[in-house]
């Protein structure tokens, strides 16, 4: 099986390439990147006026399987990923059972082998059942293929236990991803604290509940000498704390999600539960700092925090609705719309955030278009617009914050492991 992609604009941050180049895929590898390749191929794609880039590596995805197959499955999520130009996802471990031991990781790997359409990496929990009481089998998780550890959805409140987790993670050579939230501070809050929470009569969530935990987790990671990655950064103070830590030379990386640079708390004024996520949409001021952090490199990666929920869980009273939005199918287009159009990032920088950096953070050999590397490629009409329609979403759940929005950037083809997994 070979694919020749011709006449496109090739973006490859790993090799600092932004040029009109052809690319040849043979078996599952990239075999040639050059001008005007004249090879025979089973499949020739004309990419005139299109962008050719490494497939998106999304390091924050909730597949919901095993346990909540009514929300999403590995099959539906990875189909959504392919449609969104995403070729690798890191599966968050807050499933039922949680991915906290050899048995559950084996169970998940079995499902992935049977039904995944793109690469799925597994994340194990930090603590058993994510209860923050007792550490998971960290060494065993690592041995069985876990790429990272996270109690996503929860933060480990106990300082000593979290320190021990970082130490064990370091011994095993595995990355720890922190969901930073002090639930004593966020309490029963459902949206950002401010004028909007006051006018809507909803309980607010302080920035403090996030950034204080960011500061603590970085401090503990530093003490342990372990690598730390901060998930879904949403507020300005977190960006500032991370920037300082990086300057100090601490091994910290972080991600934000498209909704934090595309939307503010004003999206909540109609009580739309598709705008309800955790951390919450913040103020315009926070959004500006998030964008600045993407530009100056404080924020390393963009990840969707794809969090599918059924209509029964979303189409109800605001404070009772679940937190979270789907994002696999829109993250690339939202990023293009918000970051390329405004010239905040160029294409190379964008794919650094979407593919190259997350690959580096996770220590995988993806996210580039290097000759000899695995062929994970997305081909995009960068200028073409599309309307996000509920009934066109491939994800099993439709709780997108971007329904009804016109976005720029249409994924025409997604190639994963050298195979065409999506074609518009």
């Amino acid at each position: 099986m070979s694919i020749l992609i011709k006449n496109g604009r090739l973006i490859d941050p790993a090799n600092k390439i932004d040029a009109l180049l052809d690319i040849l895929v043979e078996d599952n590898k990239i075999s040639q990147v050059a001008k005007d390749i004249k090879a025979r191929a089973d499949n020739i794609i004309d990419a005139t006026n299109k962008i050719i880039a490494p497939g998106v590596v999304d390091m924050h995805v909730h597949l919901r399987q095993p346990g909540r197959e009514d929300k999403e499955t590995v099959a539906t999520a990875t189909a959504a990923a392919a449609r969104g130009g995403v070729t690798t996802v890191l599966a968050m471990p807050n499933t039922n059972p949680a991915i906290d031991c050899t048995e559950s990781i084996e169970l998940l790997k079995g499902i992935i082998n049977k039904s995944a359409k793109v690469n799925v990496l597994v994340c194990g929990t930090i603590t058993k059942a994510r209860l923050g009481k007792e550490l998971s089998e960290i060494a065993a998780l690592k041995k069985n293929g876990a790429r990272a550890l996270s109690d996503d959805g929860c933060s480990v409140d106990n300082d000593d236990l979290m320190l021990e987790a970082f130490q064990k993670a370091k011994q095993s050579g595995i990355l720890t991803i922190c969901h930073c939230e002090d639930k004593k501070l966020s309490g029963k809050g459902v949206i950002n604290l401010g004028f909007n929470s006051t006018r809507l009569g909803l309980r607010g969530i302080l920035n403090e509940s996030e950034y204080k935990r960011v500061a603590r987790d970085i401090e503990l990671a530093e003490k342990a000498g372990a690598a730390i990655h901060i998930a879904h950064v949403s507020c300005r103070e977190s960006v500032e704390i991370i920037a300082k830590a990086k300057k100090k030379g601490i091994k910290v990386t972080c991600e934000t999600a498209p909704h934090y640079f595309a939307l503010t708390e004003d999206a909540l004024l109609g009580y739309d539960t598709n705008m309800k996520m955790n951390p919450p949409l913040r103020s315009q001021e926070d959004l500006t700092v998030i964008k600045q952090g993407l530009k100056d490199g404080t924020i390393d990666a963009i990840a969707s925090d794809h969090a599918p929920h059924t209509e029964n869980e979303k189409d109800i009273e605001f404070e009772r609705a679940e937190f979270g939005v789907v994002g696999l199918e829109t993250e690339l287009a939202v990023s293009i719309t918000e970051l390329i159009d405004s010239e905040l990032l160029d294409w190379t920088k964008l794919f650094e955030k979407l593919a190259f950096n997350p690959s580096t953070i996770l220590g995988i050999d993806r996210g580039s278009l290097s000759v000899g590397g695995v062929a994970d490629i997305v081909i995009i009409s960068g200028e073409k617009e599309w309307l996000v329609k509920k009934n066109e979403l491939v994800s099993k759940s439709k709780n997108s914050a971007f329904l009804g929005r016109t976005l720029k950037g249409v994924v025409d083809y997604t190639i994963c492991n050298g195979k065409l997994v999506y074609k518009k």
Partner: protein, 310 residues
């Protein structure tokens, strides 16, 4: 001006002209309640459904009386005994009521935004009879109506709202309505009961009731609901009464004709003394009477809007 909205969800969403229209319409309906036969045929053949997810007697009864004086049929759904108990969602309940060909749902709900959500999902009218901490528009409208009746105007009046502003839908609706109509509003509460950035609505804040009363033409005293938010810090009841309770001693230092309002039910001896509640400045029972006229106006206007649309 013509009323075009099928729903009444809150005063934040209305213009000063729309609020004015409701008040004018209420004025003309007030007379109906003084007739020997207290009924007009304005809503004959229409069905209004009281859907109350929170216990309420006065608002529910007030709406029922208002609808009946307009000749509408009224159905009361007590959520404790309905299929809501069996886990039916709010939108399903609403769609079932719509399928019964009811015309108006009057809803009280403990979740902020519940009325907004229901109104979006249905074609029939939704009147918000109080949602969480968000809005209670007809209460504010009847407060404003009473105030205007007493003092002849709203513009430039100094109005104080005293009590648990943070958790009060009555406060929010009053703030939006009064500010839109040009009143100078001061909200007065212990620091912990003032919601963040409330000044952005255009009100002043204070924690000194005596200072505030000195300049006020009217004071709206909120019911203290010590039971409502189990997480929030609340002052001690006695301490609250000492610092914020409206007593005769306090009123003696206020403007002589200050209008004292309360949405009821009153906690005598907690937010105001019995003497004040029953005293010459109190308009509390007139508020109840005016509530009928205001709710008749709202029921009438939303029905008209829907008819002219169809």
């Amino acid at each position: 001006m013509l009323w075009t909205k099928k729903d009444l969800l809150g005063l934040e969403y209305l213009t000063s002209e729309e609020i004015g229209l409701i008040l004018e319409t209420a004025e003309s309906f007030k007379e109906v309640s003084t007739r020997e036969i207290k009924k007009v045929p304005a809503l004959r053949g229409k069905t209004a459904v009281n859907l109350f997810y929170e216990p309420s007697t006065r608002t529910r009864v007030s709406f029922e009386v208002a609808a009946k004086r307009l000749s509408a049929d009224v159905i009361n759904i007590a959520t404790e005994t309905s299929s809501v108990r069996k886990g039916e969602t709010l939108i399903d309940t609403g769609k079932n009521i719509q399928a019964l060909k009811a015309d108006i749902i009057i809803m009280r709900h403990n979740c902020s935004g519940a009325a907004n959500m229901l109104a979006r999902a249905l074609d029939i009218s939704v009147i918000n009879a109080g949602d969480g901490w968000h809005e209670h528009p007809t209460q504010a409208l009847l407060d404003i109506f009473t105030l205007k009746e007493k003092l002849g105007k709203i513009r430039d009046l100094n109005v104080a709202i005293v009590g648990d502003i943070a958790h009060s839908r009555v406060a929010r609706s009053n703030i939006w309505g009064l500010v839109k109509l040009g009143a100078n509003v001061t909200v007065c509460a212990p620091e912990m009961l003032l919601p963040v950035e409330i000044e952005k609505t255009g009100v002043k804040t204070s924690s000194n009731i005596d200072e505030v009363l000195k300049n006020s033409d009217a004071v709206n005293v909120l019911r203290m609901q010590f039971e409502r938010d189990e997480d929030a810090a609340f002052p001690e009841q006695l301490d609250y009464y000492k610092r914020f309770g409206i007593t005769e001693e306090r009123l003696a230092k206020a403007k002589k004709d200050i209008v004292v309002m309360h949405p009821g039910p009153i906690n005598r001896g907690i937010e105001m003394s019995s003497e004040v509640a029953d005293g010459k400045n109190s308009v509390i029972l007139e508020q109840v009477t005016n509530g009928i006229a205001v709710r008749m106006a709202v029921l009438f206007l939303v029905s008209q809007a829907r008819e002219s649309r169809e």
